[in-house]
Amino acid sequence: MNTEFILKAAQAVNAAILTHEAEIESLDREIGDGDHFINIKRGSAVVIGLQDELAGLTPDVVLQRIGMKLLSTIGGASGPLIASFFIAMAKSVKEHGGETLTEIAVAFTAGVDAIKSRGKADIGEKTMLDVLIPVAGKFTALAGQGADFASLLQALKQEASLGMQSTKVMIASKGRAAQLGERVIGHIDPGAKSSQVMITAVCDLALSLKQVRSLI
């Protein structure tokens, strides 16, 4: 995972969430307070604005800077969670490296664990973690098995999609939707949706790259 890829991924994520504006926005209107799209768009835009300043830095520093910037930009519930993800990833990359698929899986898992502990939440609570935890698990497993790069990415996309869909039938026990009891059944969690969109965008970017291994 090099800096160039991170910055390209930021572009891809930004484009992807803008494409899904209406969907994400209406999900948070239905079972939240309607600002989730605005929040992640604000975060995404500020990362794009950092590109020049980040260009020459090492991946761990880039991830750390992104995390700190998001922490002071997004706000809401998603802000500290997404920021914690990047800050923990940065730490993992710094300590354990971020070159091999296994190292990246470790870093991604560290990020997801940071969200779990910051949000005191786990799988099945109708949050972004219903996407992130399964994806981290699949990532770790397939990287361990030395899976083929393209099929790993396809599997992650599929896992993200399944995780996102799984929130539809859940009752929420964390976040704003936790106040609504059975009224949230039938609605996908907005943070799960945006996570799935972002993961998909990054996977698609990786799949599209020519010299895959060198970039990532």
């Binding site: 926005e25 939240g32 307070d33 929040n39 706000g75 500290p80 964390k174 976040g175």
Partner: protein
Amino acid sequence: MKKFINHVDDFLAESLSGFAAAHQDLVTLHFDPNFVCRAQKSVQKVALISGGGSGHEPLHTGYIGHGMLDAACPGHVFTSPTPDQMLAAAEAVESGKGILFIVKNYAGDVMNFEMAAEMLPYEHATVLISDDVAVVNSTYTTGRRGVAGTLIVEKVVGSFAETGADLATCKVLGDKVNSRTASMGVALTSCTVPAAGRPTFDINETELEMGVGIHGEPGRRREAMRSVDEIVADLVAAIWHDLQPVAGSKILLLINGFGATPLMELYVIYNAAAKLLQQHGLIISRSLVGNYITALDMAGASITVCLLDDEILQYWDAPVHTPALRWGK
């Protein structure tokens, strides 16, 4: 959406600028990170800092001043502020006796204040406000929301802090007020978040949203519109069920408008609620009726009951001098 607005991106900054200009005798505004603090820094007292998404004005910035907050951190509309705001505010107002954060119980507020607290170089404590009885507490949830009771905690603890009380005692009093306070709201219309540009929920001419949150979050249930006496009976029943007050208890009754409900209607609600509570043997010792914790342009209101004791009453009555609440000074 029709609003008094230039560009949606400048809305918060312009509103804060107007607020600070109109009340420059009382408050000072800082941008980047955004926070508002007292114009005169107080000396040797626990500093009270609150904050949360904007859109609930006068909460919290309107409650900065003698007898209430030292600083407030306004987030974007309905979005929790970020930790750097709390850190900068703390830096500006800490006066040697530590920081008390007053935080409404929402995942976002809790986590952002928590991260600030972890980085804070001062002694600190947090009072979590969770007065909304709309949603029945269960082991699955992260607890109840903080709504209009926040005002009462900020006032009572704020006045207590002025006496030089220490951080731990301030927190104890804050937790006590919170535990003796229960609220529930009802909406007749949705609010419209400027950046979203459309109402958060759809509701028709024959419906109301019972137990709505102050961000336009859905409540207990969507119900048929009915008379104010019936609506108030439901709200009071939920509050009663939670507080289980004994007859003869003295209470503070707060009827809070959500932003678009005329004062005439709020007084009709007060009339209905006061009668009911008195019939059930409670003594209404203090009252407050108005737009104190709003949800932008939502039509609706909440009822809050706080079970008074001598200590709470004493600090409720103590002088307060803020942009939105003022007496005794």
